[in-house]
Amino acid sequence: MLQLVVAGLTVGSGYALVALGIHIILRATRVVNFAQGEFVVLGGLFAYSVVAQLHASVWIGLVVATVAGFGLGLAYERFVLRAAARAGELSVTIVTVGTVYVLLYGHALVWGSLPEPLPYFSGVEGDASWHVFGVQIAAQQLWVLGLLALALAVLGFFFERTTYGKAIRAAANNPAGAQLVGIDVDRARSISVAIAIALAAFGGAIIGPITLVGGAAGIGIAIKGFVGGIVGGLDSPVGCTLGGLLVGVVEKLLEGRFGYGVSDPVVYGLLIAMLLVRPQGLLGTLRATRD
């Protein structure tokens, strides 16, 4: 039981990062990015290439993946999202779905369709682990939770304490008003999307050693991240984080009890139930889900 909770918190960290990314993009551009999960997969693959081809440390892989994610995010916002926004809200939804196809099958062309292993951050073959109160905790699980906390701290500092972060929030809140006080709204959107995609890539690299990287996992990750966001409240960063972790734990508990096939439909059903009962999420106040 506790073992499953620990495992759930680990995969849930990935969902939390996806939910946060969706939250940031949603706030900045009013778009739910269906491709968020594919960027997670891509981040893991970047890290894998750095390790496998350049024989560099997995830490360098993590940095490269994050920076590459940032760059990809800038391009994605500029050439896909912004262009589609002119054609209407439905068009934006459609292009993010199209992006899923491009990335999902595109990375299979480059890296092959089978998932690849990523080395553990501890540098120990097979990973280090400890027994605590009868629960086996792997070093990577601690790394994942620690790095998630670090990412949250950095983001929180950026958005709450720096002038630039505040400007981005202002631009997201009231674009017209922000423009009037001299904030470059387009630029703020670009940066927001880039941060969100960097976050996804970062997430892909840190959970990679546990989940393997590549393959067709992206769409599942995107939806479960979204479920996490909905459960916690898509307009609340804290809600997104907790929601993502919760979805991970629920998934692992169900898997442990009933086997693989059952957890996914229950988690997806949770999405629909949550949308019906409390669309703003446990911690959210969003009213934009309705007309």
């Binding site: 269906f34 292009v95 939806i223 629909i272 889900t289």
Partner: protein, 604 residues
């Protein structure tokens, strides 16, 4: 959307000819026939999604789920169920097909209910989750064969004829013809006009009596039914129904077909499905690249050609030749709108019941009291003006009367019925018309189409009669047209009948909005600041129009700032300040009331 209908009317016969010729010429090539059959199956499902996405502006990423429900239902009934001895094989096939289609429609209604609560991306996510759940359930249900699926589904048998090979080609394209005809009929009828209205502006659609929630559910059910229908033959044609065939990828493929071909109407969906079908045959060399190319194609088309490839064939024209408009000019002398209005008003209000009675209505937003204990009763056939300084609560009161927002306390009675808390379209259906402060027209539609939409609540066509193009729908359409032309004529708008609403000058917009409200001969008309933004001659005209309406027997409630207009035409003036009625009476009395003067000018 009229141009989309025109595209369908023009292109579909060409498609039909191509299908027939291809079926004869290519009958020897089994590969081609098979690919064309799959294209037809996809096209049936794509047509449903095209209507949903293009005509109703609701997205679904779960269509494969409905397809799967149809396929699995069919496969299960054809393999696992022992039919009574007397039921012929062909009848089994027909019943299984109907069952698969119907079950998919039922799930469409369920998804529609869920969909009502969201827009855009939330809706897309919810439908995607629905599709995933269907696949996951199929995978773990032993009765449905688990991961292996249902195997050995028999080919349909009609007597000695087995529906496979070439016969399957003809059957599948006959399914397309059925789906295309039904959809074309639907979009041309009352339901299609209502879809178009709700796609343009939901609030305004409700205000003319369109039940937007029910129609959205109907659209989901319809799209689900067509996907399920397509699914039934997929199982019969392939002989196998397994989870891979109904996975999320297929939902996205369908979306892609519709976006590439052009969402809305029928022809684009068929074109999209055919293009994908062709690349499935000739695209083998690009095997792994194909989905990437599809993805890029979707992105490029959604950005650069939002109308899809079919949009390249049919260019929208500024002055649209509506088939209906042509009929309008030949229609017999339109009835004078004034008379029926008076008659219907008295009828609906039950003779002496007041059209509008408001009893102690409060509307609070948190701590703010926007409307505070307002009561009044309108005398039928009179024009009452509601005035007051900005922020006095006039529009809020209006919105509670129309059902846009629910009063916090109090009771609203229209034509003798307690309508407190009713949805706007139900209130409209009682014979209540309204105009909006900022003239909410359906921008993509022509003036005639706007006014035609306004007739909605008086029409008697139903979803089913539209689908089958029954005489009832045709009669209803003709009657609607006559009413619409009468309303256009009454407001002297025939000249601009074919101009698109978004291209109109502001003054004309107001008049078109008035015509739209009048087309259904309302007994009670609520007019929100009609004179705002009009020049002097337009105001004079407005004054004439309003007076003519009152003379025709319509009860009018007017919110207005133009004192000149108000004092000139009102039988009664009510003054609202901080949500309270501070004066009520004949124009001259109210004008001299010291409290009113103070409210407007301030006290010394």
């Amino acid at each position: 959307m009229a141009d989309r209908m025109r595209a369908d009317a023009r292109i579909l016969p060409i498609f039909a000819a191509i299908v027939v010729i291809f079926g004869i010429v290519a009958r020897g090539n089994a590969n081609l026939m098979q690919a064309a059959t799959f294209a037809a199956i996809d096209a049936v499902a794509a047509i449903g999604l095209s209507v949903l996405l293009g005509n109703v502006a609701q997205i679904s990423l779960g269509q494969a789920g409905f397809f799967g429900i149809g396929a699995y239902t069919f496969g299960y009934l054809e393999t696992a169920v022992t039919w009574p001895a007397g039921v012929a094989l062909w009848l089994q096939f027909v019943l299984s097909t109907l069952a698969g289609t119907a079950l998919a429609a039922v799930f469409g209604v369920l998804l529609g209910f869920i969909a009502l609560r969201f827009r855009g991306h939330y809706l897309a996510m919810a439908t995607l989750a629905f599709g995933l759940i269907v696949v996951d359930i199929a995978k773990v249900t032993p009765a449905l064969g688990g991961a292996a699926g249902i195997t050995n589904v028999p080919f349909p048998q009609f007597g000695s004829l087995t529906i496979s090979g070439i016969a399957a080609y003809w059957y599948a394209w006959a399914m397309v013809a059925v789906a295309a005809t039904l959809s074309f009929n639907l979009l041309r009828g009352r339901a299609g006009r209502a879809f178009e209205a709700l796609r343009n502006d939901e609030l305004a659609a409700e205000a003319i009596g369109v039940p937007t929630r029910r129609l959205k559910i109907a659209a989901f059910a319809y799209a689900g039914a067509l996907a399920g229908f397509a699914g039934t033959f997929y199982g019969a044609f392939l002989g196998v129904v397994d989870p891979t065939a109904v996975n999320v990828g297929f939902s996205i493929d369908l979306l892609l077909m519709v976006v590439v071909g052009g969402a809305g109407g029928v022809a684009g969906a068929i074109l999209g499905a055919t293009i994908v079908g062709i690349t499935n045959v000739y695209g083998h060399e690009l095997e792994n690249w194909r989905p990437v190319i599809y993805g890029v194609l979707v992105i490029v088309i959604a950005i650069a050609f939002p109308r899809g490839l079919i949009g390249l064939f049919v260019r929208p024209r500024r002055r649209d030749e509506l088939t209906l408009a042509a009929a309008a000019s030949s229609a017999t002398a339109p009835p004078e709108p004034a008379q029926p209005v008076a008659a219907s008003a008295r009828e609906a209000s039950g003779g002496d019941r007041s059209w509008l009675r408001i009893d102690a209505v409060d509307k609070r937003f948190g701590g703010l009291v926007a409307v505070d204990g307002v009561s009044f009763t309108l005398q039928n056939g009179t024009l009452t003006s509601l005035i007051g300084p900005n922020g006095a609560g006039k529009t809020t009161l209006f919105n509670t009367i129309c059902g846009v927002s629910r009063p916090t306390h109090g009771r609203i009675e229209i034509a003798g019925r307690d309508v407190t808390g009713w949805q706007p379209h139900r209130i409209a259906a009682l014979g209540v018309g309204r105009s909006f402060q900022n003239a909410r027209l359906f921008g993509d539609m022509t003036v005639l189409e706007n006014v035609l939409a306004g007739v909605y609540r008086t029409e008697n066509a139903t979803f089913a009669s539209d689908l089958l193009a029954l005489p009832r729908s045709r009669r209803s359409g003709r009657a609607a047209l006559e009413r619409a032309s009468a309303a256009l004529e009454a407001l002297d708008l025939e000249r601009i009948a074919r101009v698109r609403a978004r291209d109109l000058a502001f003054g004309d917009r107001r008049r078109v909005e008035l015509a739209r409200a009048l087309a259904a001969s309302p007994g009670l008309l609520l007019v929100d600041e009609p004179a705002a933004g009009l020049n002097a001659s337009e105001r004079a005209r407005l004054r004439d129009d309003l007076q003519r309406l009152r003379a025709g027997g319509t009860t009018l409630l007017l919110v207005e700032h133009d004192m000149h207009l108000v004092m000139a035409i009102s039988d009664r003036v009510m003054v609202l300040e901080f949500g309270k009625l501070i004066a009520d009476g004949p124009a001259a009395t109210v004008r001299d009331d010291p409290r009113v003067v103070a409210a407007y000018l301030g006290t010394a």
